[in-house]
């Protein structure tokens, strides 16, 4: 018999909502072996987070309810355990870290107090001893100057440091099991790497078992021993990481593995889950060679037609004003950036949060006024254009934002949303004509035209992003900025939208600036690439050469931080 610290058997969790009972977890079983890391993978709505909260019995009740099954922790069934028994286990034997380190820490207590609280609760320590231990723990999780930082409040730390504090709190009592619910999703890729390394070190040191919940298979490959794949409340596949990554059995797993762009492959299009299975989970036959067809690189010559040129663009925001309203301190969000975008090609703009890429994107469209510089579109400088001239330009340049939930007016049908730009720019002879056009556009974006009288909240995230694309196309633009347009979507949906954008580029000869923090996605999508850091472009070249031969240290650091998506032992066999 394998030595499992946690065995979950036929676990069912229901949520009672106004619209009836939702079966969030539909009878799943899996084990967490002692000292190993189990990765729990799934997209939004798969029930993975509910599963992790259930293991601690922290599912809010009402509306949630464990309606069946067992959670055996060292042979003891936690489903039947009383609240008092659970309290002795939580934070002591099993502890947990969450996705949002900012909101998960109590904002009004110092981090030292919060770590000490766990210690005093489960161990017989005085306040001073607990603080002493908290300093040690902060040191262990790699917080510099722990003896002063122990008195800091959460808001005084960076995102990565807060997650380190959460980890310190979780390991304070040397628990047997650590549950990590998307602990790196909210963090930049370089910080993610640090946190993953830290978790791996601590696991080795304390011999903990880890349940690692994530939507990102690449992360699992880096850190887990075993993997459990969830889809709509059910487990569709489980096994060792090398088995699942090498020989995926279930079509969903196959799709999930294939649709994520990776650095070492160079496909023409991304496969999607729907290439492998139908919506209701039936496998469909696929042509592996078609799916893996290589992209033919489109070389960019120096004399290639330039559509947009940015010259020394700066955007500075006032940070602090003195008493008389004079600005004393500036944030240089965009600091002297210059580049060219060629007609019909895609420029990828990549960088970590706060590097200024979003500000730059909005400045190009003059949604934000630049502090200095020139934005030359098709030979004309946008800076200094009056409102009427700018309105004319808006026909040609469009933007698609990150959050599909926020970028559609919730009180407007999608039909009126798509027709609105036509009205503004006098496109279409009359209402019927515009309606016809809107229907054509929405069909082009993969939704039936009968949907035009619907409201945004009736659609899924991916569908809404299709609507946003249709709306942007309504003015027949030649240039579109995609500002993190696929970042909020599940990987399988992300692949669909990326393919759609590629198809549209081909059909209409569109020029894109594609802004993203995700290097793998940008590499798949862009012809040329600009890496941004602290408001400046640090490196710029065609996409492939940046990945193959990065010149700048920052680019190298960024590249090495990306999870490879190949399990360790698999890598070893490949090398042999």
């Amino acid at each position: 018999m394998a030595d499992n610290i946690i065995e979950i058997k036929d676990l069912k969790v229901d949520f009672h909502t106004d619209d009836g009972v939702v079966h969030a977890v539909k009878g799943i079983s899996f084990d967490i072996p002692r000292g190993k890391t189990v990765g729990l993978v799934g997209e939004s709505g798969s029930g993975k987070s509910v599963t992790s909260l259930t293991a601690m019995k922290l599912v809010p009740n009402p509306p949630g309810e464990i309606s069946g099954g067992q959670i055996l922790f060292e042979g003891k069934d936690l489903v039947k355990a009383s609240e008092a028994e659970m309290r002795k286990i939580r934070g002591n034997k099993i502890s947990m870290i969450f996705q949002e380190p900012m909101t998960s820490l109590n904002p009004v207590f110092t981090v030292g107090d919060q770590i000490a609280e766990t210690l005093m609760l489960h161990q017989d320590l005085s306040k001073d001893e607990a603080i002493e231990k908290a300093i040690e723990l902060l040191d262990q999780v790699g917080i510099p100057n722990p003896s002063t930082r122990v008195k800091s409040y959460p808001h005084e730390m960076s995102g990565g440091q807060r997650q380190r504090v959460m980890i310190a709190m979780a390991i304070a009592c040397e628990p047997d099991v650590l549950i990590a619910d998307e602990p790196t999703t909210a963090l930049d890729v370089t910080i993610q790497k640090q946190i993953l390394d830290l978790l791996a070190d601590l696991q080795k040191k304390y011999g903990m078992s880890v349940l690692f919940i994530t939507h990102d298979l690449a992360v699992i490959a880096d850190i887990a021993d075993e993997v459990v794949v969830m889809y709509r409340g059910d487990i569709v596949e489980k096994g060792s990481v090398s088995d699942v990554f090498n020989k995926p059995q279930h079509p969903y797993t196959k799709g999930l593995l294939a649709c994520r762009p990776s650095l070492d492959k160079n496909p023409e299009r991304l496969p999607t889950v729907s290439d492998f299975m139908t919506v209701d989970g039936k496998e469909i036959s696929y042509d592996i060679s078609a799916l893996l067809k290589e992209k033919t690189t489109r070389p960019i010559a120096d004399d290639h037609d330039v559509l947009l040129e940015i010259k020394n663009v700066k955007k500075h925001f006032p940070l602090k004003k003195n008493f008389f309203g004079k600005v004393q301190n500036w944030v240089k969000a965009v600091d002297d950036v210059s580049f060219k975008v060629r007609r019909g090609r895609t420029l990828g703009l990549v960088g970590e949060s706060g590097c200024g890429k979003t500000t730059l994107g909005r400045t190009i469209l003059r949604l934000i006024e630049p502090t200095a510089g020139e934005i030359i579109y098709d030979g004309k400088d946008l800076v200094g254009m009056n409102r009427q001239e700018m309105r004319e330009m808006r026909k040609k340049m469009q933007i698609i934002f990150q959050d599909p939930y926020a970028s559609l007016n919730p009180r407007m049908t999608i039909g009126s949303a798509i027709m609105e730009p036509m009205i503004i720019h006098n496109i279409g002879a009359n209402k019927a004509d515009r309606l016809q056009k809107a229907g054509d556009l929405i069909e082009k974006c993969g939704l039936p035209r009968e949907m035009l009288n619907r409201y945004p909240h009736e659609f899924s995230g991916g569908q809404r992003q299709r609507i946003c694309i249709a709306r942007a196309l309504a003015v027949e633009p030649e240039f579109i900025i995609c500002d993190e347009s696929v970042s909020a979507l599940d990987v399988s949906v992300q692949a669909q939208i990326l393919n759609l954008l590629l198809d549209l580029q081909e059909e209409f000869g569109l020029t894109y600036i594609f802004i993203s923090h995700d290097l793998a996605v940008v590499k798949f999508f862009a012809d040329e690439l600009a890496v941004m850091n602290s408001g400046q472009v640090v490196e710029m070249a065609d996409a492939l050469s940046i990945y193959q031969a990065p010149k700048e240290d920052y680019t190298k650091k960024l590249l090495s931080a990306i999870p490879k998506g190949i399990p360790k032992d698999l890598l070893v066999t490949q090398l042999q």
Partner: protein
């Protein structure tokens, strides 16, 4: 080849957020009963306003002064021998008029100022903020007393007083909402598509702020009905002779010690059911319009 979307499509018929909210409201029993009660009050108010029912409300008869509830005057008579029930019913008209017109005026002021300040920012904002900070700084009861005192008693005065004093809270809220919404991606998208200021304010942001205005209006309705009583007590309410719950309740100060309790009771009950219905309806409305807040 355009790849079709693989997610399930929405169900049969379109639902705007308003129809969604209305569907949720219809399911809320307490909310619907409250709505029915409010509608009844509105009907009574209209019928009294047109003088179609309780026409005897101002018929005085010295001989019938202070009669306890009896077969003819179910709720008794007042000092001048007028029927208490008829006066309370006509008080509904007064309350409804003040409760609708006063907050109506403040909604117009509050929304216009708040929208301009929040949307345009800069000097406009500074001016509006200064203006509402000033008005807000004066304690509400002092402010309405001072206004009512200066303008003299009367029905129109009450409407103007409540209208001119009640807009501050709403203005602050609308300003904050506009500040928030104007940066949201859907408004930025509209801007990128070439939409001008007016289109962004009225077509995009305002419909998304309207539910807050609705709830605030309902809250203001209640506070005005209650404040009318206090102004009546201070002698700053409606003109003498106009039927009003506030006057009926204030008059009880002299009546109770003589054992005359029916005037107070009737007016209080009339007011109680309307205000309770409005309170319950407001909270049902809030749940329906913003389901995330449910149960709070």
């Amino acid at each position: 080849m355009i790849e079709p979307n693989s997610d399930a499509l929405p169900a049969a018929s379109p639902n705007s957020l308003w129809t969604d909210a209305f569907r949720r409201l219809k399911k809320d029993k307490v909310g619907m009963i409250s709505l029915i009660v409010i509608v009844i009050y509105v009907l009574v108010a209209i019928l009294c306003g047109l003088d179609l029912i309780f026409q005897n409300y101002s018929v005085a008869d010295d001989a019938r002064s202070y009669l306890a509830p009896n077969a003819i005057n179910w709720f008794g008579t007042d000092f001048l021998g007028r029927d208490v029930l008829a006066r309370a019913a006509h008080g509904t008209y007064t309350s409804m008029l003040v409760g609708l017109l006063g907050p109506g005026l403040s909604v117009i002021i509050g929304v216009v100022l708040g929208a301009l300040a929040g949307y345009f920012g800069g000097r406009t904002d500074a001016l509006v903020v200064w203006f509402y900070t000033t008005v807000d700084t004066i304690p509400y009861i002092l402010l309405i007393s001072a206004f009512a005192f200066v303008l003299g008693p009367g029905l129109q005065t009450l409407c103007i007083v409540f209208g001119l004093t009640g807009w501050v809270g709403l203005c602050r809220l609308v300003r904050a909402e506009f500040l928030k919404h104007k940066e949201k991606e859907y408004v930025q998208s509209a801007r990128a598509l070439g939409a001008g200021h007016m289109r962004r304010i009225f077509r995009h942001i305002l419909p998304n702020v309207l539910h807050i205005v609705l709830i605030q209006f309902s809250l203001a309705f209640v506070s005005v009905i209650k404040a009318e009583v206090i102004l009546s007590y201070l002698g700053l309410g409606v003109e003498a002779g106009t039927p009003s719950w506030g006057v009926m309740i204030s008059d009880a100060k002299l009546e109770l010690s003589r054992g005359v309790w029916w005037g107070l009771l009737t007016a209080t009950l009339f007011m109680f059911f309307l205000v309770l219905a409005l309170n319950l309806f407001t909270s049902a409305l809030r749940d329906a319009l913003d389901p995330k807040l449910k149960g709070k």
